[in-house]
Structure formats: C-alpha cells, structure tokens
Amino acid sequence: MDTYVITVLSNIGMISFVALSAYILLLSGQISFGQQAYFGIGAYTAGIATVMWQWPIAGALVLGALAASVAAGLVGLATLRLSGIYFAMATLAFAEIMRIAAELFVYRREIGGVETGPDGIDGFRDIRYFFANDISPFQSCLIVYALLAAVLAALFIVERTRGGRLLRQVGEDPLLAEVQGIDVMRVRMAAALSAGAVAGLGGGLYAHLMTYVEPRSFDIMLGVHALAYGLIGGLGTALGPLLGVLIDIGLLESTRIFRGYRMIVFGGLVAVLLIVRPRGLLDEVAISRIRQALRRRRHAGG
C-alpha cells in the first residue's frame, strides 16, 4: 500500500481515540475542551516507558492509558460537579496547564550512549520503538486499528448494557436521573475515567507512530476538533465520531482539493451541519431508523 495512504489511515485511527474520548463525555452530558491533556499524558508516559525504561510496547501503552485515566479521575474529583461552560472551561484550563507543564518538563538520561528524553518545549524526540523492532508503518497501522476496534467493541457492549443506558440517562437530564436514584457522580466519574484511558491509549500510539511528541501536539485545537468530530458525526453511535474524523482528515486534509481552504470548508460545514442536525449526522433518530430497517430486512429475509 502507498505510504501516504498508510500515514493518512494511521492519523485517522489515532485521532479517532481522542474523538471517542470526547464522545464518551458528551454522552454523559459533559462538554470537555480538555481531552487532549490525557492524549498528551498517554503519549509522554508511554514514550518514557519504552525509551527510558526499555519497556515493551504493550506495557507502555497500558501504562500510558492508566496514567491518563488516573489524571482524569483526579481532575474529575474537582470538576465533575460543574456543568455546561463551567466544566468546559475547567477542562480547558487543566489541558493548558498540562501543555505548559510539558513545555517545562525536562527529563534527560543517557540511553545506549545517546542522551534522550523529554526536552521541554523541543518535545520528546526519537521514540524509536517501532523502528528498532522492525515494525513497518503498515503493521503499526494495523496495531492502531486493532486497538481502535477493541475500544469500539467495548463501547458497543457497554451501550447495550444497563451502564450505557445510565450514561445516556444522566447525559439527557441529570436532575431526573438523580431523582430516579441514579448516582450521577458515579456515572460521570466512570465516564471520565474511561474517556481518559481511551485518550491516553491514543496518545501512546501517537508518540510511537510519529516517533516524537511535543507540547504543541496536544494544544486546544486537538481538543476542540475532537469535540466537533462527535458533534458532526453524530451522538447516536460510537461510529459517529469516527465518521467526523473521516470527513475532516480523510476528505479535507488529505485530498488536495481544499488546500489552503480546509478550515474555511470544514468550519462552514460544521456550522451548517449543526443547524440542520444538532446531534450530528448519525444521531439517535437515524440510528434507531437504521436498526429498524435492518430488523425488517432480517424478518423479510428469514
């Protein structure tokens, strides 16, 4: 396969993790401008694990996701009782603090005769695990999609259980959910922890596929794009955010038709889409219609 296509596919896959992370919180009724922070935490942690501590990639990715999840839990303790723009601003504030912290974070050590590690504003270069272990770009792209499929499968399963219904119920009307005896804070905390882990996993992959990560890789633009992906793709299914990523990166960034005008097109598209379909292309109504149609066909066929 063409290396350019592989790169684009890998990018779509990696950004999808952040989009799914924002989507999980959107389902719980919270708008986060700060999921990029957990992406960054995952990227730095996983990178440090393979480069500085010589961990295997699997352990490093798990560690990155865990670290991001723990951070999300701590931030959640302070912010989850906020709602609306208060929550959005608090998460943005945290993400910016983390980004600046990364600009100040220097942790250099000599590994195999070469000094390496996070170097403040210059970022963290030479995360060469895939290269050193002869994993081709195609193979690493497969790893991204295998993990993405696993996250998606987990989300689909959760959506079919009581937990998924609780999540949407809390997102729809937290007060009503509370009155019905649902522990709103616990549901939100569960959402925040898993959203953090998903973003952290994406970050760990990003660091290793790109071979570097810098503070600018997780600025506010990444966070708000991730949020927009769910909102244009649709909040009815976990495939919605992926559709959003596909439209933006697959269609606008990678084809050269819109070069130099990508943001003008994407921005206008999002604004108009939000007017026509406030909960995205694949919203709850669309999903239940598709389900009905599938069921009918199955009945007709069988």
Binding site: A78, A88, A90, I100, V224, G260, G267, G268, A271, I275
Partner: protein, 301 residues
C-alpha cells in the same frame, strides 16, 4: 528595590489588565443576553483588526480611519457569527452554538491568513511619546489611554444598560426572554443588537491592543478569546463590574508571575487560577453564592 519592582509590576499589570477587562466586557454582554459562549469573539476582533491593518498597509490610512474600519469590520463579522451560530439555535442548544462558533473561528482565522499572508503585520501605533516617569516608576502613555478607555467604556455600557430604553429591553431579554417577547420586545433584534454592540466594543479593544503593540498576528484571535474568557470567569459570569475586576486581577497576576517566574509560568498561573476558582469557588470574584447561577447571571448584568 523590591518594593519598586512590586509597584512597577502592579502598574504594568493594571495597564495590560485593562485590555483584558475590555475583552471581558464584550464577552459578558454576549453571555448575559445569549447565555451562550461565543468562542469566535476573539477571531471576530482579529478579523476587524486585520481589515484595519490591510487598509493601513495598502493606503496608509490614518489612525482614525483604521479605528473606524476595525470597529465596522468586527461588527460585520460579529453579525455573520450571530447569524450562523446563534440565531438558528434555541437557548436549549447551548453546545451547538459554542461548537459552531468554534467552527467559524477556524474559518475566520484561515480567511484572515489569506488576506494578509505574512505572520506579523504592522499596525499604526497610538502615540510615539516616551514613557512618563513618576518617581522611580515608568508609565506608557498609550497604556494610560487604554485604562481610561476601559473605564469610560465600562461607564458607557453601565449607563446604556441602566438608563436607556435599549438597556431596559436588553435587561428584560436577559431576565425573561419569553415575558419580554410578550410585552412586545423584539427579542431576536435585541439579541442581534447586543451581539453587534459587543463585537464593536471588541473591535475598539482590538484596536487599542494592536496599537500598543504596533503589530498584529493571526494569533490575536485565540489570545483575545482565552484572555477575555479567563477574565470574565474570574470576575464571575455576567457582571460588568466583575469583568473589569477579573481583567485587572488577571493582568496584575500575570505581570508578577512573569517577573518572578518567567513567561511560561505566567500563562500557567492564569489557567491555574481559573481552574481553582471554577473547582472550588464557582461563583467567581463578584459572584453570589446562589445555587442557580444562571439565574443570578441575568440579575447581575
């Protein structure tokens, strides 16, 4: 010496803070009337400033003409944002407005970069006079103008809201949009007017800021949105007084943080303060401890 540094930093902070306060007043107006966040506010201002700069570069337009272009340009872009991000959505779809305004932010920023492709563009400075010296302290004259303009504008906005018929209508829409419509107030028109007014104030602020820097980049959009937002949140959403207090406090705090800890920590301090206030003291500085803050917002504007 330390006392002089402290005083000088505080003074500098107050001056920079007055530009934050101007931005926060515009944000507050929009938030008060719409109960929604306009993330494209900073980029709207930047677009106006860019139009002014383009006129300055191409025709050497004098400062007053540039000022007019900036204010009119920002108002028109504001109108566009209102039409596309706020008018189509009901108050219930707050998220949609916020995300749509972010989408337009991207659009405006790219359009501005097509207009003036250079990263840094010159802007006509306000005054070339050397700084005033008051004992051991230094004071830039254009900073003084900025502070005076902020106080004047805050007074004008307060007067407009408290004493004029338009202000009465705005406050009615803030308090009870439905009741306001019943008594014959054209709610949509009031919202649009407020939006354009806020954008014009933003344009004025943008002109002063760009003139003090004597240059402008497309990053001004993001800068203005974040500084204005933080200042507004620090002051507690929705009061003009709070916006000024928040802006000045942010300015002073940043000046000290920069002096003692460096520019990166300066930004971190501002965000850290915002985080702490939101998490532990969500009403803001001037905020009431009311349970229903959104209700309180309206009453305080």
């Amino acid at each position: 010496m330390a006392a002089v540094d402290l005083a000088q930093n505080t003074l500098d902070g107050l001056m920079i803070g007055s530009s934050y306060a101007l931005l926060a007043i515009g944000f507050t107006l929009i938030f008060g009337v719409m109960r929604r966040l306009n993330l494209a506010y900073g980029p709207t201002i930047m677009a106006g400033v860019y139009l002014g700069t383009a006129a300055f570069i191409s025709f050497g337009a004098p400062s007053l003409v540039v000022l007019a272009i900036v204010i009119i340009g920002a108002s028109l872009v504001g109108l566009y944002v209102e039409r596309l991000c706020f008018r189509p959505f009901g108050e219930a779809a707050r998220t949609a407005s916020m995300v749509a305004s972010f989408a337009l932010w991207m659009q405006i920023e790219e359009a501005a970069m097509h207009m003036l492709p250079q990263h840094m563009n010159p802007f006509p400075p306000l005054l070339a006079a050397s700084p005033l010296e008051i004992g051991p302290l230094m004071l830039r004259a254009d900073h003084l103008i900025m502070l005076a303009a902020t106080l004047l504008l805050a007074g004008a906005v307060t007067y407009l809201l408290a004493r004029t018929k338009l202000g009465l209508a705005i406050r009615a829409v803030i308090d009870q949009p439905r009741a306001a419509a019943i008594v014959g107030i054209h709610v949509e028109r009031i919202m649009m007017l407020t939006f354009v007014l806020a954008s014009a104030i933003g344009g004025f602020a943008g002109f002063l800021i760009a003139a003090t820097d004597a240059q402008v980049t497309a990053m001004m959009g993001m800068w203005a949105t974040t500084k204005g937002l933080v200042a507004m949140m620090l002051g507690g959403l929705g009061s003009v007084k709070g916006a000024i207090a928040g802006g000045l406090l942010l300015g002073v705090l940043e000046a000290h943080a920069q002096w003692f800890l460096g520019p990166q920590v300066r930004d971190m301090v501002a965000w850290g303060l915002l985080f702490v206030i939101l998490a532990f003291w969500p009403g803001g500085l001037m905020g009431a401890k009311a349970l229903d803050r959104t209700m309180a917002v309206g009453r305080r504007v």
